[in-house]
């Protein structure tokens, strides 16, 4: 296998994720934390994130149904999700979370519902892309990991 090629592909993929706004600087910080002791740290964190965020999204979904118009509650849940997103640098997802919270603040149910759908969508898209990315990285070998994309 052409590891250097794979690494290049991974790097390019990462760059495009940044360019498209899916990821931000925080993701680099997370990747920077990788070292010999924890070579797959970034992937572990991302995996953890998706697992936990799925739970949070499900909570929000339930809240939207069970507690109609309970903007405070909705906001609180979304706040949690937003915090999580920011921890790994999930930029677009975070934006949608903020948007949802804005709608909550306005008391705009429809806005909330739509926004929530977007959050879910972003969540799914990001998960796919990052899974592909990490897979590539794994194939490329450790050397191809933490490379800061030229941003």
């Amino acid at each position: 296998m052409d590891y250097s090629n794979l690494r290049r592909q991974a790097a390019s993929m990462k760059k495009s994720l940044f360019d498209q706004g899916y990821l931000d600087e925080q993701f680099c910080q997370v990747e920077d934390l990788q070292d010999e002791a924890s070579p797959n740290f970034a992937e572990e964190v991302v995996t953890l994130f998706f697992k936990d965020s799925a739970r949070l999204i499900s909570n929000i979904e339930q809240a939207l149904e069970k507690y109609p118009k309970d903007f405070n509650k909705w906001d609180a849940y979304m706040q949690q999700l937003k915090g999580s997103c920011s921890s790994i640098g999930a930029s677009r997802m975070k934006s949608e979370c903020m948007s949802f919270r804005d709608y909550c603040g306005q008391g705009n149910i429809e806005g909330c519902m739509k926004s929530f759908q977007k959050v879910k969508r972003e969540h799914g898209v990001l998960r796919q892309k990052l899974e592909a990315y990490f897979q590539l990285l794994r194939q490329a070998g450790p050397a191809g990991a933490a490379t800061r994309p030229a941003m």
Partner: protein, 689 residues
């Protein structure tokens, strides 16, 4: 910047213990990794309630806490408040929420800093500054004779806003140094960003003995469970005192009580029971100590005092049941760092008793100071022999012994010793109420005055003086009776002292018979000037016991008792002052009573000089002979003890209220100054403690 920061701190930031609390597992993992990169020691906890438990169990296990604002089981601000009050550790808030009002709220609640998620590595690298800053400010506060927590907290808060925002900008070293400077300036200027609420700087409040006593009275009045800062404040009615001052003080007090309760778990005495507000009151002295320990009073000073008094064995304020050694320890407890000290206060009393009794034989390190009671058989006031006896049970014996001894000893001894709580005269370990008593034990150590009986001693001593004073140490059986009687009286007298009661009560046997723990007044009286006992030298004759012995055990106990006595005063603070000369004296008069109650035989044996029996065992012989010597405790013991009187607890002096000066230093003082201590010389040490 990071490098600069680290360079500044030297090796300090490395290994700094951080506790991260956040319900978000992703964030927790990332933060942990970042903190590890900063070479800190990291503990993560996803639940605030669990984090709080961890902190409570191991307060010193962490240097700084980082906590999320929004958590399901507890509001982050609430955690912040509790940590600040209970543990006084710097807390950094964190949230994805960057709204100014939330950030402001964090600052108002006392957060050292507020980080906006996602938290960057650079920000984490600088958190060590908060730890240092806080410590630095606290020290400064101490220099200014103690400011309250809120003041401390307020200071760092001033800059939080700036910090928070700067942090987001990726604060750099220059900014930080600016912040530091600003903070210092603010410190000096005592400015506060126009914060209308409690966060504004308040004049430092020094929790003096009197103030604390008022506080304690208020708490007792309300009932410890119902005591809320607002009501306490109202009851206290001290101009200038704010609710926050009271609140933080109350927190510390509660912690103190809790610790005491834990320590005294074995001791039935209510003294310990925080719940019983009534009892709490007497704690006065103790609390003082505790408070001191908790930082109100420069812990170092307190510690030093205690150490001296107690002869350093720390803490083992163990329950009376313990044997002397443990007793001594108890006394020493005070010496233990911080938390320990607090308890020590209360403990000494207990301990003293035991020690005094049994301790003698042992070389109570702390006791050394036992007062010249010396007359008291250092030897074992009989108490020492049976560790258990010493314990609660033995206490009675011991107390008897002490009483016995006391009786035997000339009043002077007692008075001398009792006086200050410090006095620790011959073994009368009267718990000098305030924990200071501990120190007393030292002085008293020569358990010669086993009678010193810790808690009881106070009253005991007081009571003893009359009889004791003039009676030669139990040289003859009769004296012992008197002693006993006296002691008895003392006990009775002391009964009232709640504080003492703890001890006194505990002094099982000792004085407590009536478990009256010496009425505070008694104690005071005792000490107050009458205490010739203390002097022991003369009266007690107990001294036969090598001072060393006393010292160790007895010292502790004595000290304790002294402290106790004094302490009891502390509780009452008036005790000492009350010098009522002797209500207790009256007590002494019933030798018969005493004997009866104690079961002298027991006491005596251990003691050596059975109190009741009047023939001290090995020790007792000393006792008898030492009656004369009472006053003269061997230098070691005595001098120390005396020293103890003065020293030991800085508090004692306070509590002793009038007389007792902070131990060590004031030994001489207390002895001399308080008019109570009758002649330091009697003790054999010339007041130089």
């Amino acid at each position: 910047m990071a490098a600069a920061a680290e360079a500044r701190g030297g090796d300090f930031p490395v290994g700094m213990k951080v506790l991260v609390v956040d319900d978000d597992p992703t964030c927790l993992v990332v933060l942990k990794r970042m903190l590890l990169e900063c070479r800190y020691d990291v503990t993560t906890c996803p639940q605030a309630t669990r984090a709080l438990t961890m902190l409570r169990e191991n307060r010193r296990g962490f240097d700084v806490i980082i906590s999320d604002v929004h958590m399901p089981d507890m509001d982050g601000f609430r955690l912040l408040e509790l940590v600040g009050l209970e543990m006084d550790l710097p807390v950094i808030m964190m949230s994805a929420d960057s709204r100014t009002d939330i950030v402001m709220k964090g600052i108002k609640h006392g957060a050292c800093d507020y980080l906006i998620k996602p938290v960057r590595m650079e920000e984490l690298k600088n958190i060590w500054q908060h730890v240092v800053r806080k410590k630095f400010n606290e020290n400064k506060d101490h220099e200014h004779s103690g400011s309250l927590d809120d003041t401390d907290r307020n200071r760092p808060n001033n800059n939080d806003n700036e910090y928070a925002s700067s942090a987001n900008d990726g604060g750099d070293g220059s900014w930080k140094s600016q912040k530091k400077k600003r903070e210092k300036e603010e410190d000096e200027a005592d400015l506060e960003s126009g914060d209308p609420s409690s966060t504004s700087k308040k004049p430092r409040v020094v929790w003096s003995v009197e103030l604390h006593q008022q506080f304690v009275n208020a708490v007792n009045h309300l009932g410890i469970d119902k005591a809320v800062p607002k009501k306490i404040l109202e009851l206290m009615n001290v101009p200038g005192l704010t609710r926050e001052n009271v609140a933080s003080h109350l927190q510390k007090f509660r912690l103190y009580l809790k610790r005491i309760a834990q320590h005294h778990a074995g001791i039935p005495h209510p003294f310990v029971a925080p719940a019983s507000s009534a009892k709490v009151a007497p704690l006065g002295g103790l609390e003082f100590q505790a408070l001191a320990a908790s930082g109100q009073i420069p812990p170092q000073a307190l510690a030093a005092l205690q150490d001296e008094l107690l002869g350093r064995p720390t803490s083992s304020l163990a329950l009376p049941g313990r044997d002397q050694s443990s007793l001594r320890l108890a006394a020493i407890k005070g010496n233990k760092p911080h938390g320990e000290r607090e308890i020590a206060f209360g403990q000494p009393i207990y301990k003293c008793q035991n020690n005094a009794y049994g301790a003698f034989p042992q070389s109570s390190p702390g006791l050394g100071g036992l007062p010249s009671f010396g007359a008291w058989p250092n030897n074992k006031l009989g108490m020492t022999d049976s560790p258990s006896a010493l314990g609660n049970v033995s206490n009675s014996q011991n107390s008897n012994l002490l009483l016995h001894e006391l009786q035997q000893q000339p009043d002077s001894l007692l008075t001398g010793t009792l006086q200050n709580i410090d006095v620790k005269p011959s073994g009368i370990v009267m718990p000098s109420q305030s924990l200071n008593a501990f120190p007393a034990s030292e002085g008293i150590s020569p358990n010669q005055n086993p009678l010193v009986i810790p808690s009881q001693s106070q009253s005991f001593l007081a009571s003893i003086p009359p009889s004791m004073k003039h009676e030669p140490l139990l040289a003859s059986s009769s004296p012992s009776n008197s002693l006993l009687g006296g002691i008895d009286m003392v006990n009775q007298a002391s009964t009232s002292q709640p504080l003492i009661s703890t001890h006194g009560a505990n002094l099982p046997g000792l004085m407590n018979r009536s478990s009256n723990a010496m009425p505070s007044s008694g104690i005071c009286n005792f000490q107050s000037g009458n205490n010739p006992y203390v002097v022991n030298q003369n009266a007690m004759g107990v001294s036969s016991r090598p001072p060393g012995v006393l010292k160790t055990e007895s010292t502790d106990s004595l000290n304790r008792s002294y402290g106790y006595i004094g302490g009891s005063t502390s509780v009452d603070s008036g005790l000492l002052s009350s010098q009522s000369k002797n209500p207790q004296y009256g007590l002494l008069q019933n030798p018969n009573d005493i004997t009866g109650s104690w079961s002298p035989s027991q006491d005596i044996d251990s003691y050596g000089n059975t109190l009741g029996q009047g023939h001290p065992g090995s020790t007792s012989s000393n006792y008898q002979s030492s009656n004369v010597a009472l006053g003269k405790l061997p230098d070691q013991g005595r001098g120390r003890n005396h020293g103890f009187v003065g020293k030991g607890t800085c508090i004692p002096s306070r509590f002793a209220v009038d007389e007792v000066e902070s131990p060590t230093n004031n030994l001489s003082h207390s002895i001399g100054s308080s008019a109570d201590i009758v002649n330091p010389d009697i003790f054999g040490f010339s007041g130089q403690m």
